[in-house]
């Protein structure tokens, strides 16, 4: 099987465009139902479940890989407050780091992505850190 080329460390620092996401009541409810959430505010679509920022999908120019070969190693979110229906969040995704390490499955590439969400006045609402492992 072909080994996918390791990601170039030149990609570190590269960013997505800033994307404006509107937190929709229906999207919150759909997410809450998929997760079988029992939190009343989430089921009513008023408050987004804590991991809702995962729905804010962005692409970074030049960053491509075979999705089926990616493992999600770790995830962190930090919150200033929960997201609510009607919020408009300006998001940006950045390559924070890329490095190689030997793991259980041999040589692996670790990709660290940093997500930032701000309200319309520019105040931080949440940040996210994704550790993706490319095998």
């Amino acid at each position: 099987m072909d080994q996918p080329p390791a990601l170039s460390r030149d990609l570190i620092g590269r960013e997505s465009e800033e994307v404006l996401f509107e937190v929709e009541r229906g999207a919150i409810r759909k997410f809450a139902e998929a997760v079988q959430e029992q939190t009343p505010e989430c089921l009513r679509g008023e408050v987004a479940p804590p991991t809702f920022p995962t729905t804010f999908r962005m692409t970074i120019p030049g960053l491509t890989f075979d999705l089926a070969r990616v493992l999600h190693g770790a995830q962190e979110y930090r919150y200033e407050r929960p997201l609510r229906a009607g919020d408009r969040v300006r998001c940006r995704l950045r390559v924070a780091d890329i490095y190689q390490r030997k793991g259980r499955l041999g040589e692996m590439t670790f990709l660290i992505l940093a997500l930032e969400g701000r309200d319309e006045s520019g105040s931080a609402v949440f940040t996210g850190t994704t550790t993706a492992i490319l095998r």
Binding site: V35, P49, T55, A74
Partner: protein
């Protein structure tokens, strides 16, 4: 607003080492993975298509790691209320498959009492029906 569980506990009952109650989720189904793919926008086919999963060496589809993290997010909402959550950090250590039943568990690592209220550092994890920890992590909640 504080969630019902921690709101009912005194400072003494939330000291380091205190065990938190469990939240047992319903068994994970393939339909749930399809729904979660749609709701989250994670269309990686290893979660919904057995053929793709086998092509990359898996026995069949595996659950999104983020689904187990979502369970832990719900756990924090139940414990502390959605307004109280300051951080949730997890590592995905074992695969989760359709048919697995996850239970969220936790304990208090540290309680800090200050002017801004009480801050709790929690150890949280999701384990499967064989008591194997599949997703492990840490959370911070602020109780004013």
């Amino acid at each position: 607003m504080i969630g019902p569980v921690l709101a009912a506990r005194s400072e003494q009952e939330l000291e380091g080492g205190s065990v938190l109650p469990d939240l047992r989720k319903t068994p994970i189904t393939k339909l749930q993975l399809v729904k979660y793919a749609g709701a989250s926008g994670d269309y990686n086919l290893i979660h919904t298509d057995d053929e793709t999963a086998r092509r990359v060496g898996l026995e069949g589809v595996i659950a999104h790691g983020m689904l187990s993290m979502a369970f832990l997010g719900e756990y924090l909402c139940w414990l502390a209320g959605p307004e109280s959550i300051r951080r949730l950090s997890v590592r995905f250590v074992e695969m989760v498959r359709p048919g697995d039943t996850l239970t969220c568990r936790g304990r208090v690592k540290e309680q800090t009492v200050g002017n801004a209220g009480r801050q709790l550092l929690l150890e949280v994890w999701a384990e499967n029906q064989r008591a194997e920890r599949v997703t492990v992590g840490e959370a911070e909640v602020q109780i004013s």
